[in-house]
Symmetry: C2
Subunit: 338 residues, 2 copies
């Protein structure tokens, strides 16, 4: 009646932090995530609202997604507390056969997919001839987002600001070497942002509810701004004026940004949240015009989604298999026949 048999074919792969980093190719990840968001635009993705469970000292969060057309599905599970930090894992499955393909660390990967998603937004929203980037923040996301900018535009130079001088100087030095683009340290956030074709705001404002990193009054015609921090209701990164000054605002998920980001709460309070100029990433990929002229200022805001996570997991898995990385786990999951 209930025969149990060992699976005979695909063994799931385990990828640790070093292997995930080695298997991350920003250009490829942007394309793989874009394919997932295109499927989302076509209405063929199942992605329920994320489940957020409270723990004694933090949270336990669950984000599944199924892409039937692409034959991909998976889940990101992460938990965090101020004392113990955040731990992320992504599991990906063959959506047709149901096989677990890979279990991978997703701490770095979450930063990489955030950058890759910004890359998609920038590909369709920034001016085609954008050449300069201003970066506010010097952490993992600042790095992955800048890397993504260089993958979708012919970036020639960048300026970075971060409150700690040593951090911005290290970013400038390391990213110049990594990407072959001249990155200079700037003395203020405004100095990094002013005159840049693209601005990346990627700050860690945990616990600093009034810590604005980017002010809308700095926004210039033709600029494209990416804001990927302030992913919690108690966090802040850009001010309400930024929502007012942008001609068009793109969000990875409108409901996510509206309900989860402290920046959104402030903009709604200030009356600068305008539904009429906000569009969602899948709509842009479905053909909606991102900007009407090179003079418009555009803003992208993201909080992340399960489609991004699962597709990023597939991107890394494909690279890891091609490179022979990771450990195969034999004799792991059996399957139960109906």
């Amino acid at each position: 009646m209930v025969a149990t048999q060992l699976r005979e074919n695909v063994m799931p792969l385990i990828l640790g932090p070093a292997e995930v980093k080695q298997a991350t190719n920003m250009g490829q990840m942007i394309d793989v995530i874009e394919a997932g968001i295109r499927e989302q635009a076509a209405g063929n993705v199942s992605m329920p609202p994320r489940q957020n469970l409270a723990t004694s000292n933090g949270f336990f969060r669950v984000m599944p997604a199924v892409m039937q057309d692409g034959g991909k599905m998976g889940i990101k599970i992460f938990n965090g507390s101020v004392e113990h930090g955040v731990r992320y894992i992504i599991l990906i499955y063959d959506e047709k056969g149901g096989e677990l393909l890979c279990m991978m660390d997703a701490a770095y990967l979450t930063g990489a997919r955030t950058g890759a998603t910004t890359g998609i937004a920038t590909r369709y929203q920034a001016r085609k001839n954008a050449k300069t980037v201003g970066i506010i923040g010097s952490g993992l996301e600042a790095r992955t987002n800048f890397e993504a900018m260089c993958a979708v535009r012919e970036i020639q130079s960048a300026r970075v600001f971060s409150p700690t001088k040593a951090n911005r100087e290290r970013f400038a030095e390391e990213m110049s070497a990594q990407l072959g683009v001249t990155v200079q340290s700037a003395d203020s956030a405004e100095a990094a942002a002013r005159g840049s074709d693209i601005v990346v705001v990627a700050t860690n404002t945990t616990g600093h509810s009034d810590n604005i990193a980017y002010y809308g009054e700095w926004m210039e015609d033709g600029q494209h701004i990416n804001s990927i921090g302030a992913t919690g209701g108690h966090l802040r990164e850009i001010d309400p004026q930024a929502f007012a000054n942008a001609d068009r605002i793109l969000m990875d998920t409108i409901v996510g940004v509206k309900e989860e980001s402290g920046d959104s709460f402030a903009a709604i309070d200030a009356g600068t949240w305008d539904d009429n100029k906000i569009i969602e990433l899948p709509q842009v990929l479905d053909g909606m015009l991102a900007r009407e002229s090179d003079n418009q200022a555009t803003l992208f805001k993201s909080v992340g989604s399960a489609v991004q996570d699962v597709m990023a997991g597939f991107a890394v898995y494909e690279q890891a298999r091609a490179l022979g990385l990771g450990r195969d786990i034999d004799n792991f999951l059996e399957h139960k026949i109906f």
Copy 2:
């Protein structure tokens, strides 16, 4: 800003099917799950409704739970299709420190935890002097449920019915040997049920929407009936008369049984669903009287819950660590500091 560090202490354990079976101790598992349900009774468990995503040919389901008092949390993830069967995995975490402790196959474990949960229901609902069991079904769940009966009552003999003679005879032979209790093969479901102190209905009625395995007219004073099949809306196992004839009905989760079991749909249609006599497993553990006399007939119905899964996962993990089973995975999850 975003330092990433390798975890230095607990390495997660991988447990495959053979190790999970070896690390399953029914008596211990019953006690561990009971502790989880007691915590649920005290109102300290976070367990959102399960997420059920559609796939091309089946489903992808996600069941997380957090037990703050016990310091335990985790998730069961399973997917299935008629062609490819069902694959189950459970991940368990230290709820305080956030560390992933174990990833285990949960095909057998799901059957074991279903049995263990029935064991809890039977411990508090069956007559103290119950000595005989009638079993309808001969699959994995019939086995684990019968094992649980023997863990909570001094069972002396049993009769088993299953439509295929070879299956019921093999069950009788193997379970007699395993548990040291005389198990005989019966020629009909009614013959197995009649005169038994406890009846276990554990059938696989997939695709047989009118396949009733147990009829309420067989119910006798003082009997306790456990029905753990028909966990989908298209499945059937007991008839509406069973709901009518039981003096008290216990469910693992009322909302789950009501919304997910085809048996419930039929009882509601037939007008035999009576909220006044239905109680939930946590209520019994919280002190509510399960039965008022040895003459009452009682029914337990279950569809499973994340608390049962996660606690069963902890039960197996504890045994596996004690027995030195499984594989430790080093260099797997890093954690990101705020």
